[in-house]
Amino acid sequence: MAAHLALAEASRLAEISQAYERVARRRTLYTLSLLGLCVLCIFGGLFVADQANSGGFWAGLDKFFDYPAELFIGAYEEGVIGLFALVLQYFPYLVETVNIALVSTLLAFFLGGALSFVASRNLVSNRLGVAVMRRVMDVFRAFPEIVIALLLVLIFGPSPVAAVIAVTTHTIGALAKQFSEVNENCDLKAAEGIRSVGGNWMEQIRFGILPQVLPNFLSYTLLRLEVNVRASAILGFVGAGGLGAELKMVVDWNYGADILVIIFMLVLSITSIDYLSGWMRQKLIGQTGQV
């Protein structure tokens, strides 16, 4: 009797172990095929890219340090005082680039914030309206900044206004999406409380929802500010003003010292804004204990 039971248990065990092995084998197969796909993507892509490139990878590899070396030699020849003068010379353009990013982020914060409230499923009962607003956001977000900037530079001429509009457009879409996700996760009880004392929709949003979501809004906005400083530097390259436009000019003329100074200024400002926004976000989110 006992032996019979043990035998049955053993066969059950064998069954379980077989099933486990089957699952394990299948998972390994999935993992390996996924990895294989990745490897295929990488090498196939690299091969196509290498073919399409005007210079090859192997030919370019030993030239990789040539350009940085060239820049450093140029900077060395300029001397410390000359470099410092260049920093002063380009400083106003850096301010312009940061201003472009800041203005676009501010505008997008307000516009995207407004858009996010009408694009949140839990705050608006009109399903169709929400769906339309979401598509509008998707389209705004899909626009690479450079497309709008190129068009506007043709119309407005080389001006930071083109960059501001381009960056704002994309940022509105990006922020509105993140904001509406925050909105959809917020606690509706506060808004219900406002409604119970006769508050209209605007008042419910203002006093019920906004205080809950504002820290997260600000946190996402700070993250965007950092992204936008990079974007506004790049947009200068197509003529939309700021430090990018100066960089384009000195790169074309191959002024080593100027290029290095501008790169240094860009990297320094991007890194410091990065740290600053990280620190501020930690403060903001730490306060409410969310996310």
Binding site: C41, A49, D66, L107, P144, L247, T271
Partner: protein, 454 residues
């Protein structure tokens, strides 16, 4: 029964008690009350300052509204020229697409009528232009009197007609633009009429292709017909070639450029993820006990990320030349830094109980991290990589325009010509569609892989 005074006293007492229990609830202190208005004022002041610093009024004044209008028109319409040259009078009006000599219509369109020495050109809502015996008569629906010009004998002469602001008569030519869609242009040697029509011309096949102008039904029957248009290839193949090799729209090149942009994004993101993974472990405090090494790796991440994609792409374009390879390198250098930072933070935030549990069974350090830590952070890795895949598709377009090739470069090329606006619009449309598709795909994969597992 309590009297009013006692009630008031109780209320007052209650208020005091609340104030003590929750300080700052009944009356906010001045600092907090002023915070909102002061901040709003600062923002408004800053925006106003920038409004003038960027010289918005000046820019708006100088804005080329006509460029915008022309772009908008040319993006959805095509222009047809009808040109009569006095030296080649026997040809009559030659009708061509955008005045291109290689794109002359074989048949006269129905808006040009010829009868007994007189040619009438119907201009839609802008009236009719008649040309006979070296006299151009233009009737505009809003003007009672017709405009007449004497041409063919030297410089065109304005004979009669009202004074219209869209009509410009100079010493050498007459230029009339009654609306955006019509232009009449008279010079000493020619009478030329331009008309805009909606739609993209020659989108499917070249102007001189035998397939141009055929309807869908005709094309379908051709595709399955046994009679070969080109004896060497099947009809479907021939039609595809004609479409793919379209010289104006360059479908083949455009889609290859799009593929290059996608390759830049996908390969760049994948390599960045694979490289960042081991480095992130080296930068995490709970895995790597050596503080110096940790800080070194972290600074390396900051360096990769801080030197922006723009600058990386400049350096790589110098080294590897123009093309997607430089783009891949620019993306993976920047994103290795980003992923490294994100991943190492995730590793540090992981629950260490699982790793300890695995260790308790006698696992080696590698096994401990592989089975105790890795499964916790894998969903986050994949989700972050998918997020960046979508954003890198956009970045790849941007650095492509800087010289890394792909659709970005194509876009900037068509824009530089300043006339193929329909091609520009087409490219913008393709870019938007691809970015939105990548967005959907990455969202779908995220939901499938991450939430589906849970």
């Amino acid at each position: 029964m309590t009297d009013i005074g006692a009630l008031g006293g109780t209320l007052h007492h209650e208020e005091q008690r609340l104030e003590e229990q929750y300080p700052g609830v009944l009356g906010l202190d001045l600092k907090k009350r002023l915070l909102g208005p002061v901040l709003s004022l600062l923002v408004v002041a800053y925006l106003t300052l920038c409004f003038f610093a960027f010289d918005v009024p000046g820019v708006m004044e100088k804005a080329r509204g006509d460029m915008a209008q022309l772009f908008a028109l040319d993006a959805y319409a095509h222009k047809v020229h009808a040109k009569y040259q006095f030296k080649k009078a026997n040809q009559g009006f030659v009708v061509s697409l955008e005045g291109n000599r290689r794109a002359i219509y074989k048949e006269q369109p129905d808006w040009i009528a010829q009868s007994a020495g007189q040619t009438s050109i119907l201009l839609g809502n802008d009236g009719v232009l008649r040309f006979a015996d070296d006299v151009v008569t233009y009737t505009h629906p809003e003007y009672e009197q017709a405009f007449t010009f004497k041409v063919g004998d030297g410089v065109p002469q304005f004979v009669s007609g009202a004074d219209a602001d869209w009509l410009k008569v100079s010493k050498t030519q007459v230029n009339a633009r009654p609306s955006l869609y019509t232009r009449i242009w008279l010079t000493k040697s020619k009478v030329e009429v331009h008309r805009y029509f909606g739609g993209w011309e020659n989108f499917w096949f070249d102007f001189d292709s035998g397939l141009n102008g055929l309807g869908v039904g005709e094309l379908m029957s051709l595709a399955f017909s046994s009679e070969r248009l080109d004896p060497d290839v099947s009809n479907i193949r021939f039609m595809f070639n004609e479409f793919w090799m379209n010289s104006e729209w360059q479908h083949g090149e455009v889609y290859f450029a799009l593929l290059q942009t996608l390759i830049m994004a996908v390969v760049g993101t994948l390599i960045a993820g694979i490289l960042a993974l081991p480095l992130a472990f080296a930068a995490a405090a709970n895995v790597n006990p050596v503080k110096l090494a940790r800080t070194g790796v972290r600074r390396f991440f900051d360096f990769l990320r801080g030197v922006d994609m723009l600058i990386w792409s400049l350096i790589f374009i110098r080294a590897f030349g123009l093309g997607p390879l430089s783009g891949i390198f620019a993306i993976f250098f920047t994103d290795t830094g980003t992923f490294g930072k994100l991943f190492s933070e995730a590793i540090e935030n992981a629950d260490k109980k699982q790793a300890e549990g695995v260790q308790a069974t006698g696992a080696s350090p590698v096994q401990k991290y592989r089975f105790g830590l890795f499964p916790q952070i894998l969903p986050l890795f994949i989700s972050q990589m998918l997020y960046y895949l979508e954003s890198n598709t956009r970045s790849a377009t941007v650095i492509g325009a800087l010289g890394a090739g792909g659709i970005g470069l194509k876009l900037i090329e068509t824009m530089r010509t300043r006339q193929d606006w329909e091609n520009t619009l087409y490219l913008i449309f393709l870019i938007i569609v691809v970015v939105m598709m990548m967005d959907q795909l990455s969202g779908w994969l995220r939901r499938k892989l991450i939430e589906g597992q849970a």
